[in-house]
C-alpha cells in the first residue's frame, strides 16, 4: 500500500494543480475521521485514497453547507499529521506528514533543468522534507514527526521529549543524543527531557549513556514535534534498537587507550566450553594479552599481570578468574559494562601501573520480576531481578556453579578419576533510590574454586567483596558519591595424605577502602572531579599448620603485613575550542607501611643476604614503618583535525605499592602479594602515548593507530634460584629493576552491518633490566632482556556475520609470537652432583600461538508476548586443533631430565549452551 502511494506521489509532479470549485455539504457529530470521509464520499463524487491506520481515533464534530471540500478537510485534519492532495478527477489522496509538492524544489534535477521548469514561484526558500525509503542494512525504527507545513521556511525543527528506562520507567538523565554525521547533539536533563533542533527530513538520532544500551532512531521531521522513547538496559534486544559501539566517541573522546567493552559483544565471541567472558573480549583488543590459554591475568602494554586494577562496582577484586583463567569469575549476565583504561587512567584511580578494568554490575529491575539463565556443558548460570519497592528499590541476584566433576570422572586417566573440581560465584546487588537526589547501592560478591586432584590434597581459593555506594546530588552543579568497600582474597591448601605430614597452608590479602568523589560542573564545557580515598591493607603472607593431631608439620606463620594507602585527586576536562580539548588530572598518593612488624635492615651498598643483615627492627602496632609518596600526573590532549579525524596525546604516571610475588609467567593461584616496606620500594611507571583516530562512512568503520612508550622503575623480579612461598626473608630474593615497553596498536572496527567485528594488530616489545654492582644481583649481565610477556606480534580478529535476525556466525582468530622462556641448555657436573644449567633469562621462545574459534548463535523467535526469549550458542574452540604450548617444563625423573610441554586444549572443543530470558 505504501509503495503504491509513493509511486503515486512521484507520478504527481506532472499533474498541475487546478482548483476544483465543487462544494459539499456534510454534518457530523463526534465522528471519527473515517466516518467523515465516508460521509463525504456518499454526498459527493470525491473519492479518497488513504491508509486506514493513519486516521487515528480523533473525534470531530462539524456542520458544513456548500463549502469547498478543502475547508472540511482542513478542519478535520487539524491537529493530526495528515495532509491531503486533490487530484483532477475528484480523487483525494491522504498523506501522512508529507505535503505533496506540485512543484519540485529548486535544483532538483540540477541547475539548468530546474530553471526552465519553474512555473510558479511561491516562496524563495522551500525546505521540503523528502524522504526516500532506503534499503537500510540496519533495522532502525523510523519516527515521523510533525505535520508538514507547506509554507514553512524554517531550517530547523525542534524535537523534544522524555527518555525513560524501558524496564524501570525511570527517566534517563545525561543521555547523549547526537545526530549522526553532523555536529548536532544534546543531552537529557535529570528528568530525561531533551530538546534538539533538527534539519527537516531524515536524521539519525544516536543515543549513548553509561548503563543504557546505545540506540539509533531514524526521525523524519516535518515540523516541531515530540518524541518520547524508552531505552532498554537489557541483554537481548528485539528489533527496535540496534546495538552499536560508542558513536564517534573513538574520535572525540579526549583520553587515549580507553576501551569500553560492550557486554553484548561477548555474546558474539565464540566461547570455551560455552561460557561468555568479557575478559576474553578484552584480550582480543590490541595491547591486552594473556600469557597463553589457561593462564590467568592480563598483560597490558608490556606490564606485569599484577599491574591491573580490576574493580567490581568500585571494589578491587584480586582474582577475577576461575580455573586457571579459563573462565571469568564474574557472572556475564550481571555485568552492565566494562571499561578498560590502558592509556590515560583517570586520576580517581591509582595503585596499579598498567591499567584499570572498571566493571559495573547491573542494577535490579524496580518494575517487574525477571531473569536470565543459561545452561552450558560446564556451568549453570542464573540471574534474577527482584523489585522490592516499585520504582524505588530492587535486588539483582546472580549465581553460577560448575559441574565439572563429571568431566573428570569421564577421563580415562586412572589418577584423575577420583579428582574433583568445582567453582561457583554469586553476586547480589541492591539499589535503593530514596529520591531523585539520593541513591544507595550495595554489592556483595563471593567466589570459590575447589580442586582436589589426588585424593590427598584439596586446594581452595576465594574472593569475597562487599561494596556500598551512596550517590548524592546536591544541586544542578554538584554531585558526589561515597564508596566503602572491603575485599578479600585467600587461598588454602589442605594436604591430607594419611601420614603424619598433613598440613594446611594459607595466604590471605584484605583491603578496606573509603572513597569520596565529588563532581562540580561549572558549565556544559567544564566540570571538575575531585575527591579523596584511603585504604587499609592487611596481608597474611603465609602460614602452614599441621592439619590434624598426628601431623608433625612444624607450624610456621609469616607475620601479618599492614599498610595504609591514601590519595587525593582532582581532574577536569576543558574544551578550549571545539577542536582542542584537554583532560588533566593530578593524584597524590601516600603509602604508610604500618606495624606491628619486623623489618630486617641490611648493610647499605651490599647485596641483601644473610651476610649483610645488620639488625631486625621491631615496630609496634600502627607504628609507621616507612612512608612513600607518589605525585601522579594524568594528562590527555585531543585535537580534532576534521570532525571524523583526531589526534590525541597523553602522559600518565602511576605508582604501585602492592606486588604479586610470582616468577611464573602466568598468574598462578598460589601467588602471594607483598606490600612495599623498608626494603621493597613502590613500582613506578611513566607512559606516553600518541594516537590518530579516524571514522569512515558515517562511523561505520573506526580506525585507530596508537603508539605508546612506557618506562618503569622498581619492577619486581627475582634472583636466579629464588624460592618464594613461605619465605621469611623475601626481600633477599627480590630484585627491583627498570622496565621499558613500547609498541604500536592498530585497530579497525566495523561497528554495524550484517558483518561486524574488528581486526587488531599490535607490535610491541617489553624489556626489563636487572643490574647491580654485585654479580649475584645481576641478571643477563645487567642488560635489558625481554620480559616474560614480550610478544612482539599480536594479531586478533573478531567477526560476526548475521544471516538473518535469528542466525549468526562468529569467528575469532588470534596469533601471537611465542613468549620468552628460560630453557635448560645442558647439564653440568659440579662438586659431585649433576645439575641442569639454564640459559640466560628468557633467551628462548615457545612456539608461536594461534587459534581459531567459531560460534553459531540461534536466537529464539521474537514474538513479543512469548514467555521467555531464548538463544542457543554452539561453538567450537580451537577449530584448527592447534597444540599451542602453554608452558614448557622439565622434570627430573630417575636422574634424567625430561622436557615436557603442556597445552590446555590441543583438540577442537565443541560446546553448546542454552540461554533464556524471562
Amino acid at each position: 500500500m505504501r509503495k503504491l502511494l509513493y509511486t503515486l506521489i512521484f507520478l504527481l509532479y506532472q499533474v498541475t494543480f487546478s482548483q476544483n470549485q465543487t462544494t459539499i455539504s456534510v454534518n457530523f457529530t463526534d465522528a471519527s475521521i473515517g466516518e467523515v470521509i465516508q460521509e463525504i464520499e456518499a454526498n459527493s463524487n470525491y473519492h479518497f485514497y488513504f491508509v486506514e491506520e493513519w486516521l487515528g481515533d480523533k473525534r470531530v464534530t462539524g456542520n458544513y453547507n456548500n463549502v469547498p471540500v478543502q475547508e472540511v478537510l482542513n478542519a478535520i485534519f487539524k491537529d493530526t499529521v495528515l495532509n491531503y492532495y486533490l487530484l483532477d478527477n475528484n480523487e483525494i489522496v491522504l498523506i501522512r506528514n508529507n505535503v505533496i509538492y506540485d512543484e519540485l524544489p529548486e535544483n532538483f534535477f540540477g541547475r539548468e533543468k530546474v530553471v526552465e521548469n519553474t512555473v510558479t514561484k511561491r516562496k524563495k526558500n522551500i525546505n521540503p522534507s523528502f524522504y526516500v525509503e532506503q534499503k537500510s542494512s540496519t533495522r532502525t525504527e523510523t519516527f515521523r514527526i510533525g505535520k508538514e507545513d507547506i509554507n514553512s521556511t524554517r531550517e530547523r525543527y525542534s524535537l523534544s521529549g522524555y527518555v525513560t528506562n524501558f524496564r524501570t520507567g525511570r527517566p534517563i538523565g545525561n543521555l547523549a543524543i547526537v545526530v549522526s554525521g553532523t555536529s548536532i547533539g544534546t543531552q537529557t536533563d535529570k528528568n530525561g527531557f531533551y530538546q534538539i533542533d533538527l534539519p527537516p527530513g531524515q536524521s539519525i538520532l544516536e543515543t549513548s549513556s553509561v548503563g543504557i544500551q546505545d540506540s539509533r532512531k531514524r526521525v523524519i521531521i516535518y515540523n516541531d514535534g515530540e518524541l518520547d522513547f524508552e531505552l532498554d538496559e537489557s541483554l537481548e534486544q528485539l528489533d527496535e534498537v540496534i546495538l552499536e559501539g560508542k558513536v564517534s566517541k573513538n574520535v572525540t573522546e579526549t583520553i587515549t587507550g580507553a576501551e569500553k567493552i560492550d557486554v553484548e559483544e561477548s555474546k558474539n565471541i565464540p566461547l570455551v566450553l560455552g561460557e561468555r567472558d568479557v575478559f576474553k573480549v578484552a584480550t582480543a583488543l590490541p595491547g591486552i594479552s594473556t600469557a597463553g590459554e589457561g593462564s590467568a591475568g592480563f598483560n597490558v602494554r608490556g606490564g606485569k599481570s599484577d599491574q591491573n586494577l580490576i574493580l567490581v562496582d568500585d571494589a578491587v577484586i584480586y582474582s577475577p578468574q576461575h580455573f586457571f583463567g579459563i573462565f571469568s569469575a564474574l557472572n556475564p549476565f550481571s555485568i552492565e559494562d566494562v571499561t578498560v583504561y590502558k592509556g590515560s587512567i583517570p586520576a580517581e584511580y591509582g595503585g596499579r601501573l598498567s591499567s584499570v578494568f572498571d566493571i559495573k554490575l547491573k542494577d535490579g529491575d524496580t518494575k517487574k520480576f525477571g531473569g536470565e539463565a543459561s545452561i552450558g556443558p560446564v556451568t549453570g548460570n542464573v540471574v534474577l531481578d527482584i523489585p522490592v519497592i516499585k520504582d524505588k528499590s530492587a535486588l539483582q541476584i546472580g549465581g553460577r556453579g560448575a559441574y565439572a566433576n563429571y568431566i573428570l570422572r569421564s577421563l580415562d586417566d586412572e589418577s584423575l578419576k577420583d579428582s574433583e573440581a568445582s567453582f561457583y560465584d554469586a553476586n547480589v546487588k541492591y539499589t535503593h533510590r530514596f529520591n531523585d537526589n539520593n541513591k544507595l547501592s550495595a554489592t556483595g560478591y563471593i567466589s570459590r574454586d575447589d580442586f582436589s586432584i589426588t585424593s590427598d590434597s584439596l586446594y581452595i581459593y576465594n574472593n569475597r567483596l562487599l561494596s556500598l555506594k551512596w550517590d548524592h546530588t546536591f544541586n544542578d552543579n554538584n554531585k558526589g558519591s561515597l564508596v566503602l568497600y572491603n575485599s578479600e582474597y585467600k587461598f588454602n591448601i589442605e594436604f591430607d595424605g594419611g601420614a603424619n605430614n598433613n598440613f594446611d597452608l594459607g595466604f590471605s590479602v584484605q583491603e578496606t577502602e573509603a572513597k569520596l568523589k565529588m563532581n562540580h560542573a561549572f558549565n556544559d564545557k567544564y566540570s571538575l572531579d575531585y575527591g579523596v580515598s584511603s585504604k587499609l591493607y592487611s596481608i597474611e603472607p603465609g602460614r602452614i599448620d599441621p592439619f590434624d593431631e598426628q601431623s608433625i608439620v612444624t607450624p610456621l606463620a609469616i607475620p601479618e603485613e599492614r599498610a595504609l594507602e591514601s590519595a587525593a585527586f582532582i581532574s577536569g576536562k576543558l574544551d578550549f575550542t571545539e577542536k582542542f580539548s584537554v583532560d588533566a588530572g593530578f593524584r597524590f598518593s601516600v603509602f604508610n607501611a604500618l606495624g606491628e612488624g619486623v623489618q630486617r635492615i641490611y648493610e647499605d651498598g651490599r647485596p641483601r643476604s644473610e651476610a649483610t643483615l645488620l639488625e631486625t627492627q621491631e615496630f609496634d602496632k600502627n607504628e609507621v614503618i616507612e612512608t612513600y609518596t607518589g605525585p601522579e600526573a594524568r594528562l590527555s590532549l585531543r585535537y580534532l583535525l576534521r570532525p571524523d579525524l583526531s589526534i590525541k596525546a597523553s602522559f600518565n604516571n602511576t605508582f604501585q605499592y602492592i606486588h604479586r610475588l610470582s616468577n611464573n609467567t602466568t598468574v598462578s593461584p598460589i601467588d602471594t602479594w607483598k606490600l612495599s616496606d623498608l626494603n621493597i620500594e613502590p613500582q613506578q611507571a611513566n607512559q606516553y602515548s600518541l594516537g590518530l583516530y579516524k571514522n569512515f562512512e558515517d562511523d561505520l568503520y573506526e580506525l585507530s593507530i596508537e603508539g605508546f612508550y612506557k618506562e618503569s622503575e622498581n619492577i619486581l623480579d627475582f634472583k636466579t634460584g629464588a624460592q618464594i612461598l613461605l619465605n621469611e626473608t623475601i626481600e633477599a630474593e627480590v630484585l627491583q629493576g627498570e622496565g621499558e615497553a613500547y609498541g604500536v596498536e592498530f585497530l579497525l572496527k566495523k561497528t554495524k552491518g550484517k558483518l561486524n567485528g574488528w581486526l587488531g594488530y599490535t607490535y610491541s616489545r617489553s624489556f626489563i633490566k636487572l643490574d647491580s654492582p654485585f654479580p649475584e644481583e645481576r641478571v643477563n649481565n645487567g642488560d635489558f632482556f625481554p620480559s616474560n610477556f614480550d610478544k612482539p606480534h599480536d594479531f586478533s580478529m573478531v567477526a560476526n556475520y548475521k544471516f538473518t535476525k535469528r542466525f549468526s556466525l562468529s569467528a575469532n582468530f588470534v596469533y601471537q609470537t611465542g613468549r620468552p622462556v628460560t630453557f635448560p641448555v645442558g647439564n653440568f657436573f659440579f662438586n659431585g652432583s649433576e645439575t641442569v644449567v639454564f640459559s640466560d633469562r628468557n633467551r628462548f621462545r615457545i612456539p608461536d600461538f594461534y587459534r581459531l574459534d567459531l560460534g553459531f548463535n540461534i536466537e529464539g523467535n521474537h514474538k513479543k508476548k512469548k514467555l521467555a526469549h531464548s538463544f542457543w550458542t554452539i561453538s567450537i574452540y580451537n577449530v584448527l586443533g592447534r597444540n599451542n604450548p602453554f608452558s614448557v617444563f622439565f622434570v627430573t625423573e630417575d636422574g634424567e631430565v625430561k622436557s615436557l610441554q603442556s597445552s590446555i586444549f590441543s583438540i577442537p572443543v565443541p560446546s553448546i549452551t542454552y540461554n533464556f530470558k524471562f
Binding site: 590434597s457 644473610e610 616468577n663 644449567v837 627430573t892 622436557s899
Partner: protein, 394 residues
C-alpha cells in the same frame, strides 16, 4: 620440599583437569645446547696437592660431562706466588707442589684452555677457619616421621667471623653377606670334569663400601646471636637403611664459606634438589665468580673457592641404636641350589657359568651334597671391597 611437592601437585593437576593428554614429552635437548666451561676449584687450608676440575656442560640426553683437557691452570696470590697445575687425568688438574691457602692473602685462579681462551676468577680470600667441635649420633625420628639415626655437628667460631658452613661427608660401611662359607669349589679340570673343595682364597666375608655425599649441605649462623653451629644434622639414616645393617662410619668435613660462595651453593642447591623444575623456582643462569678475560658476555659456570676444612669421624653399630629391631634384608634374594659330588659337570656349570657360590657341603650316602647360592649372597666383593680401610676401627 613439601612446598615443592605442593606446587607440582597443583600445577600438574590444574593442567590435567582440563585436558587429558595435553602434557607431552618433546625433543628439545639438542637444539638449544650451550657448550659452557665448568670450573670446580676448591683450595683448602690443608697443605696438600690441591685439585681443580674442568669440564664442559653436556647435553641433557648425554651420559656425563666431557672433561676440559689440555688447559693450563694456575693459582696466583698477591705475594707473587704462582702455583702451577698439571693435568693428571682428563679434566683433573693437580698442583705441582703441595700448598695450603693462607688467611689474609688474595688468590686468583687462571685458566687458559686448549683453544686459547683465557678465564680468571675474581680475587678470593680464606674465611675464618673453624673446627668441628663435636660430631655425634642420636637415635631420632625425622621430619618425615621415619625412625633412624641422625649425625649432628657442633661448631663454634669465637672470633665471630665464620657465618657460612658447607658440609660433605664420606660414608664407609661394612658389607657382610648372609651366607658366607669358608670353602669354595675349585675346578681342577673341565674334561674330564674334576673338582675339589678348598678354602676360600681371599677375604669374602667382610667388605667395605665407600660413598660420598652428593648433595649440597649448607648451614648459616647469621640469624643466630652467636656464630655457633649446634645440633646441625648432616646426615640421617633410617633404621631400615642398608648402610646401617652392620658397622657404619661417617667422616664429616666442614668447610667455612665466604658469603659469595654460600650464595652460589645455595642457588645451586635449589636447582639440584629439584624433584620437578615445574615450580616456583626462578630459573636462569647461575652466575659464579669465573669470568672470561676476552669476552665479558661469555657464560662460565663454577666457582673458585678458598675454604678452611675441618673433619671428624664417627663409628656406629646398628645394635647400639636398634638392639630390638631386626636387620634390614640383604639386598638380594638368596635362593639355594643343590648339586651332587657325583655330577661334577653340573657343579662346574654352577660355579663357572651360573656364577654360584658354595655355601655348604652335606655328607651324603656316598657322595657329598653341595649347596649353592648366588655370589652376591656369599661373597662381599660383589657389593664392596675387601680392602679394610686404614681408618677402620672395629
Amino acid at each position: 620440599m613439601m612446598v615443592k611437592k605442593i606446587y607440582r601437585l597443583l600445577l600438574l593437576s590444574g593442567l590435567a583437569l582440563v585436558c587429558n593428554n595435553c602434557v607431552e614429552e618433546f625433543d628439545f635437548g639438542t637444539q638449544n645446547f650451550e657448550d659452557i666451561l665448568v670450573v670446580d676449584a676448591r683450595i683448602t687450608d690443608e697443605l696438600k696437592f690441591q685439585k681443580v676440575a674442568l669440564s664442559r656442560t653436556f647435553r641433557l640426553e648425554n651420559e656425563g660431562p666431557a672433561p676440559e683437557i689440555g688447559a693450563s691452570v694456575s693459582v696466583t696470590d698477591d705475594r707473587q706466588n704462582v702455583f702451577q697445575f698439571s693435568e693428571t687425568t682428563e679434566g683433573q688438574y693437580i698442583s705441582n707442589e703441595a700448598f695450603a691457602a693462607e688467611s689474609g692473602v688474595n688468590y686468583q685462579l687462571q685458566i687458559t684452555t686448549l683453544n686459547g681462551k683465557s678465564y680468571a676468577s675474581r680475587a678470593v680470600t680464606l674465611p675464618q677457619p673453624t673446627p668441628i667441635d663435636e660430631l655425634y649420633v642420636e637415635r631420632i625420628i625425622n621430619d618425615d616421621g621415619e625412625e633412624g639415626v641422625g649425625f649432628f655437628v657442633d661448631s663454634f667460631d669465637p672470633t665471630g667471623n665464620a657465618f657460612f658452613y658447607r658440609y660433605e661427608y664420606e660414608e664407609t660401611y661394612q658389607i657382610i653377606p648372609p651366607f658366607w662359607f669358608d670353602l669354595d669349589i675349585k675346578v681342577i679340570s673341565r674334561d674330564p670334569p674334576e673338582i675339589d673343595v678348598v678354602s676360600r682364597e681371599r677375604e669374602e666375608r667382610i667388605c667395605y663400601k665407600n660413598e660420598f655425599s652428593n648433595r649440597i649441605i649448607i648451614n648459616e649462623t647469621t640469624s643466630l646471636s652467636e656464630n655457633r653451629v649446634e645440633r646441625f644434622m648432616v646426615q640421617f639414616l633410617a633404621s631400615s637403611d642398608l648402610k646401617l645393617r652392620d658397622r657404619y662410619s661417617i667422616l664429616v668435613k666442614q668447610f667455612v664459606q665466604t658469603p659469595e660462595a654460600h650464595e652460589f651453593f645455595d642457588t645451586l642447591s635449589n636447582f639440584s634438589d629439584l624433584e620437578s623444575l615445574f615450580s616456583q623456582l626462578q630459573p636462569g643462569f647461575i652466575v659464579g665468580n669465573i669470568l672470561s678475560v676476552e669476552n665479558p658476555n661469555e657464560n662460565v659456570l663454577g666457582f673458585f673457592e678458598l675454604t678452611p676444612i675441618s673433619e671428624k669421624r664417627v663409628f656406629v653399630n646398628r645394635r647400639d641404636f636398634f638392639p630390638e629391631s631386626t636387620k634390614p634384608d640383604y639386598p638380594a634374594n638368596c635362593s639355594f641350589f643343590e648339586e651332587s659330588e657325583d655330577e661334577p659337570l653340573k657343579v662346574i656349570d654352577a660355579v663357572e657359568n651360573r656364577g654360584l657360590k658354595l655355601i655348604s657341603v652335606g655328607a651324603g650316602f656316598i657322595y657329598d651334597q653341595y649347596t649353592f647360592t648366588f655370589k652376591i649372597c656369599s661373597d662381599c666383593n660383589v657389593l664392596g671391597s675387601n680392602v679394610r680401610p686404614d681408618f677402620w676401627v672395629d
